[in-house]
Symmetry: C5
């Protein structure tokens, strides 16, 4: 799984039926607290807000499982809001 930061949302009128009523969030990928090159458009099952750091699951069959809809055409889902990332003692 990956860490990201919610930076925007996507407005789409014409889209596959599955996405009706789903928020489509633009999520910047983050490594070591810094943005890096890349993003994912995700749906959200935990109510993530603007600028929040989130846990992203980017895998189709997992995503479908979350929605309980076997035919959901979906791949990237926000599955957690990250409060903190602790560096372990080494």
């Amino acid at each position: 799984m990956k860490v990201g930061r919610v930076i925007g949302n996507v407005v789409s009128t014409i889209k596959h039926d599955f996405f009706e009523g789903e928020r489509l969030l633009m999520v910047q990928l983050v490594d070591n607290g810094e943005d890096y090159d890349g993003y994912l458009i995700c749906t959200d099952v935990v109510g993530a807000g603007s600028d929040e750091t989130v846990l992203i699951l980017d895998e189709g069959s997992s995503a479908r499982t979350i929605y309980g809809i076997e035919s959901a055409p979906i791949r990237s889902v926000i599955v957690g809001i990250i409060d903190d990332i602790h560096e372990l003692d080494t």
Copy 2:
């Protein structure tokens, strides 16, 4: 999912039967409103036109689900036309 821009279409006479009658679009990947290195050849279920910004689903089992054909040899599908991407207040 990813954001792309439709920049061309692929002409292929000899191809797997599934692709007969399907448009094969060349879609430039886009990040932060700018093109970047990469593209995908996609089929299209929303009627995307030239130069339109689109939502791309790049995952095999999802793609098959969309077509309702379990044996469809397909991975990348345009599933939405993007009107706008709003930056969230932070």
Copy 3:
């Protein structure tokens, strides 16, 4: 899906049974008509020849579907020969 160019073939004596009798083609990935960093070893279901531009499907379950063999250990298959890529009017 991706675009590639057939540049070579792989000779392998010791291999998984599935690959017996299958051509294993070295396919250079292509973007915007130019080679770029990367290749895939593909099997071929459309009879692609040397130096031809091809449509590549790189996904396991799709690949198995094409062969109709549920246990085929395969991921990358040439599924079309590309005659031309037209730039759309913008």
Copy 4:
């Protein structure tokens, strides 16, 4: 599969039910003994500790198999602790 090094853990209060009680470890990807650009957030089934070098499986259906939960929304799992990597005689 990939090699990584456990460098931190993720604290998340609001998350998908599956992750309740699961440690979410930040794992730096490693190549040739050196860190490189990239990380994965993994769950752990072998009890990996801080700074340990680990074997990572990053694939959804495998990950679900490990947990024996068909609906587990998971992709990246630590499946081994690496004691050493031997260079083979060449």
Copy 5:
């Protein structure tokens, strides 16, 4: 599929049961006869030796198919030993 070169093996005492008795090989990815940035930890079904050039299948469900174990937590498998790569006449 990809081409690699066997450069080492991984020693792991604590690991998922599936890997008991399986060799875990460190395989350097190869392009155009030269090493490049990247490796995979693979199991092996063809008896690949040190420094041999191999055909790698990096896909979970294919890998499970090879082992005939539906619950095998595995993704990367060596499926062939490559004798030669011929450049095609162009």
